[in-house]
């Protein structure tokens, strides 16, 4: 069953058009990866889905309802949680408060609560009374993921969760993905790291210059096809 669908999604920043008719869909329980280079429109796509950017009403549908023009706080209440690019923890809040505020607009019982998030990322329990921004980059990313999970979302958007982190730390973060999938949430993972993206995704979309240039399951996509979709065909 289709959980989320975008149809002919366009997005603009003033006069600049960032997305040119993007069509993607996510099925219930599925994890999809969106790969592409800087400026391909991946983050714009995430911001359009979660309501920070608003669009034509039926450009985005979630669980059958048109949410393209619904503001972010109401999209979140419907069950789409976002791990924003650059983590965006609240500096005035402790680690635990950062997690708790994830339930502000949507407090539904489910797999995820403080205990299960601390079980997923034990280091956060040790540091729960520190200010969120006093943690290392990888730990901050764990807080950002935990914060999004606290609302027990039906769809979790992860925007560049490996950005700026050391490979060993990225490995720790991605080790959590199978458990998140097992909890039943659908996921969209935005990545520049193609290998990481292919390893966790059921299906992959590749974007370039505001358009989807390739899609398919990781097994069916050849390296050359991804290369062409990522960088454009060599002339």
């Amino acid at each position: 069953m289709t959980l989320l669908q975008t149809q002919n999604l366009t997005a603009h920043y003033g006069d600049f058009q960032a997305l040119f008719g993007v069509d993607i869909d996510v099925h219930e329980g599925e994890t999809i990866a969106i790969i592409g280079s800087n400026g391909a429109g991946k983050t714009t796509l995430m911001r359009s889905i979660c309501g920070v950017l608003t669009n034509a009403p039926d450009a985005v549908t979630f669980d059958g309802a048109a949410i393209g023009s619904v503001p972010a706080d109401e999209v979140m209440a419907k069950g789409i949680a976002m791990v924003p690019e650059g983590r965006r923890l609240f500096p005035s809040l402790t680690v635990e408060e950062n997690l708790l505020i994830g339930t502000y607009g949507r407090a539904v019982a489910g797999v995820w609560d403080l205990d299960t998030v601390y079980d997923l990322f034990p280091i956060l329990k040790e540091r729960r009374n520190n200010p969120g921004t006093a943690l290392s980059g990888g730990q901050q990313q764990m807080v950002a993921i935990g914060r999004a999970l606290m609302s027990n979302p039906r769809l979790l958007l992860c925007d560049e969760i490996s950005l700026g982190l050391a490979p060993v730390v990225i490995k720790d973060i991605y080790a959590a993905v199978p458990r998140i999938k097992a909890s039943g949430a659908s996921m969209i993972v935005v990545e520049q790291d193609i290998g990481k993206a292919l390893s966790v995704a059921d299906r992959v979309y590749c974007m370039m210059e505001g358009r989807v240039t390739l899609s398919g399951t990781p097994e069916t996509l050849s390296r050359d096809a991804i290369h062409d979709a990522y960088f454009g065909k060599a002339a």
């Binding site: 979660c50 309501g51 972010a72 706080d73 979140m76 924003p84 505020i101 994830g102 502000y104």
Partner: protein, 287 residues
Amino acid sequence: MIWVNTIVQGILLGGLYALFAAGLSLVFGIMRLVNLAHGDLIVLGAYLILVIVTLLGLHPLLAVLIAAPAMFVLGWVLQKYMLNRVLGDDILPPLLVTFGLSIALQNALLEGFSADSQRLPTGALASASLDIGGLSVGVLPLLTFASAVLVVLVLNRIFYTTSLGRAFRATSDDAVTASLMGIKPANIFAVATGIAMIIVTIAALYLGMRSNFDPNIGPARLIYAFEAVIIGGLGSLWGTLLGGIIIGLAQTIGAAINPEWQILSGHIAFLVVLIFRPRGLFPRATD
């Protein structure tokens, strides 16, 4: 002994200034909005209490229980339908709008209540005093100071132990990311201004019981409030209380030396603090 008395009276006077300032501090801390009509809203609150006292024959201390919820609603509506429209990256539009509001309030009060100065009927409380270790301390100043401490305690409790407080701090940090948590910044701001108006009503109560007021005294209250907020450090409520006390002390000590120096001493104390601590005594770490 005279000096001890002066210092005690100064600290207690600081409680009144802290009450003037706490609402301003709260609103600035959450939405970076400097409300230039703050002083006039205090005066409006005093007139509202006066009307309730006159119509219902209540003591001001009881009338404030009716006035405070009404002022909360006024603050909520004011923020939601007027101030939220001008909040943004540019700090000038909110300044202009609240400046206009200040003038409009003064003139509306002048029209409704004339320029005659008024006072809340306080009865025996106005002159009641306690003998503490040889010092004669007024009950009303003591009540004022206790209310200021209580207001700061309650606000801090809301800020640091409730879900609403987390939302206040998160919205203040980053409104876009707060909206990803399901928070509607516009509503959070409206609630914050509503709470600030409750504090304004408490400040109005003591203003009206302790001194005369007329429609034009708002801007001077704003100055004291503003100085207390700046001395304490923007966004720190305990700092605001201390800022109020410093101004109260400076004024009382100045007046003890020469009565002409009372107001000036408060302003000088403000400038001295700014010279040595430009960001105030307890600036928030994350500004």
